[in-house]
């Protein structure tokens, strides 16, 4: 059998593919964070909790309303997005004029409260959510057994990332948003309702997290702490990619998924640390991140 670095080649290909799949989750989550930070200057620590809310919303829709996966994929982000809009209106909008740190602390507090409420209500061990029948099963790729659902996650993540990027970089709406970040007063003077636009942007960023949650529900345990492990890594991804850089966070998300996957083969004990080592190196060499502008 062919070997690469002492690892059989098929196993290595398999691991690369898995890294890509995990990278899809990192990319999706860091995308939402980058949108919120890039356009609102808020470090949204509640993102992990909102990811978790997306998964729970899917579970609730199924368990209480009999509404299946495909509708949940549409409805859960809308529901969670609306809660995001409410949070923005009630709390976050008051912080735009203050230092970043206040937004960070507020959203971190909100995350703890949200997770605590869910833990009280649903316990900590998680709820079962089945893979939809259309996406169950697996393809035999020869070098590995590839579950259909994981393939779907990569495709969905790519579509979502590219759409969001195009929306912000190439459309008139995106141009308004970017302009409002640069100079809100001027954009408002042209008759654009900037506060409403900012509110909706936060809602959209939150909805992106919720989509990630729905996609994760069938493969990971749906439990209140499911987002808190992920969010730290995702923050590292955003920092490495360059705070606020949308393309940067997408590419970094996928790339770090692969790096982490390979670490799990060569030195599994270090797989939780490797991303932070990379973050430290990148920050030393390029303080603004790989794709960030000074």
């Amino acid at each position: 059998m062919d070997e690469i670095f002492g690892i059989p080649a098929p196993l290595l290909f398999g691991q690369l593919l898995l890294g890509l799949i995990n990278g899809a989750f990192y990319a999706m989550l860091s995308l939402g964070l980058a949108v919120i930070f890039g356009l609102l200057n808020i470090v949204n620590m509640a993102h992990g909790a909102q990811f978790m809310m997306g998964a729970f919303a899917a579970w609730m829709l199924l368990a209480w309303g009999g509404i299946g996966y495909w509708w949940a994929l549409l409805l859960a982000p809308i529901i969670v997005g609306i809660t995001g809009v409410i949070l923005e209106k009630l709390f976050i909008s008051r912080l735009y004029k203050l230092d970043h740190l206040y937004g960070l602390l507020l959203t971190f507090g909100l995350a703890l409260i949200i997770e605590g409420v869910f833990r009280n209500e649903f316990g900590s061990s998680g709820l079962p959510y089945r893979i939809p029948p259309e996406l169950s099963g697996a393809w035999d790729l020869g070098f590995m057994f590839m579950p259909v659902y994981r393939g779907w996650v990569v495709v969905a993540a790519l579509v979502l990332c590219i759409t969001t990027w195009l929306l912000i970089e190439k459309t008139r709406l995106g141009a308004y948003l970017r302009a409002a970040t640069e100079n809100a007063a001027l954009v408002q003077a042209f008759g654009v309702n900037v506060p409403r636009m900012v509110t909706l942007t936060y809602g959209a960023g939150v909805a992106l997290a919720a989509v990630g949650g729905v996609l994760a529900a069938p493969i990971y345990s749906v439990n209140p702490q499911m987002g808190s492990n992920l969010i730290i890594v995702v923050f590292a991804v955003v920092v490495i990619g360059g705070m606020g850089s949308i393309l940067g966070s997408i590419l970094t998300g996928f790339a770090l998924g692969i790096v982490e996957g390979l670490t799990k083969v060569f030195w599994p004990e270090a797989s939780a640390t490797v991303i932070f080592v990379i973050m430290a190196i990148v920050l030393l060499a390029r303080p603004a991140g790989l794709f960030g502008r000074k």
Binding site: N22, G116, R130, N229, E269
Partner: protein, 406 residues
Amino acid sequence: MSMNRRGVLAAGAAMTMGGLPAARAQGSQTIRIGVMNDMSGPYRDAAGPGSVALTQQAVQDFGSRGFAVEVLQADHQNKPDLGASIARQWFDQGVDVVADLPTSSVALAVNQIAREKNKVHLNSGAATSDLTGPQCSPNTVHWTYDTYMLAKSTGAAIVKSGGTSWFFITADYAFGHALERDTGNFVRAQGGSVVGGARYPFPATTDFSAFLLQAQASGAKVLGLASASTDTVNAIKGAREFGLQRRMKIAALLMGLPDVKSLGLESGQGLLLTEPFYWDLNDRTRALTQRVQAKNQNRPPAMEPAGCYGMVLHYLKAVADMGVAAAKASGAEAVARMKAMPTDDDAFGPGSIRADGRKIHPSYLFQVKTPAESRGPWDLYTLGATTAAEEAFRPLAEGGCPLVRS
């Protein structure tokens, strides 16, 4: 007393959860039991509020025998340093017993402190067999289960049914290492082999597919999961998805009722697992479940809370036997009295505590029911083999406990 930041945090945790000022104000004829476990993390459903509810049930069932019993609670967040701070503070402020203590790393830390302060450490939630091995203490009783018991029952059953070569996915801390070691020893003793393994960072791992793929490539017949709780659930979900069960058996070495509930019977059916307690085991366990249901969020108790019930009840019997003052004066004496008395409670039936602090009772191998077999929301297990109390745990002489005179 110098207060660092961590100390302040711990104090805050203990105060909010336990209400210590009130505890301090009462007379010395009060036995204070501090239930310390994971109230806010992955082990909450196994050993969180349920352990407090069952401890209170034990106090209630014990009744009034001339002394008051107060139950406190605290959240150690699975952090050994936090657990140690809370334990120190509790002991210094008149708490006699610290109980439950899931998460092996925290249990081992608190174990030292209970010995140093001559208090009582009643352990139900931790798995490591080191608590009654090299780390055994005259102040400690390890009640419910340990890694050796799990390894012997589940491990041996799977090797016997043809699962001779193993690949381990192990939580990279004291508990996972102990479970992997004890199971590996059984597998090898029965003529099987361990062909490989991967240790994953705990608690920062969500996705297990990279390890599952390595397991598959190893050619092993059995995937041994030396993990717990959410990690085990995620690993089994992944294993089903990646088609591991076509060529491998899955050995979930530590899996409890809340985990099976979380996994769902669809994904969990057919799994073998070992527990010393199941709510639907016999008339006594059903009666206990009935009594405690309302206090326990209408869920049947898992094995860790059931252990809290048994060990606290037995401790209180020992206190009544030797007198409150003597029990409060020396934790080691209280534990010695517990060892001298035979145990009997609704959760575990009759049993005894050995010189090394190990409580012995039968262990049960269960198989998870199929959705069609299950007749109720908590009707999850079919009883397979029973291992007698004397056989279920590591022989006294083999543990390396210095308390055991050979």
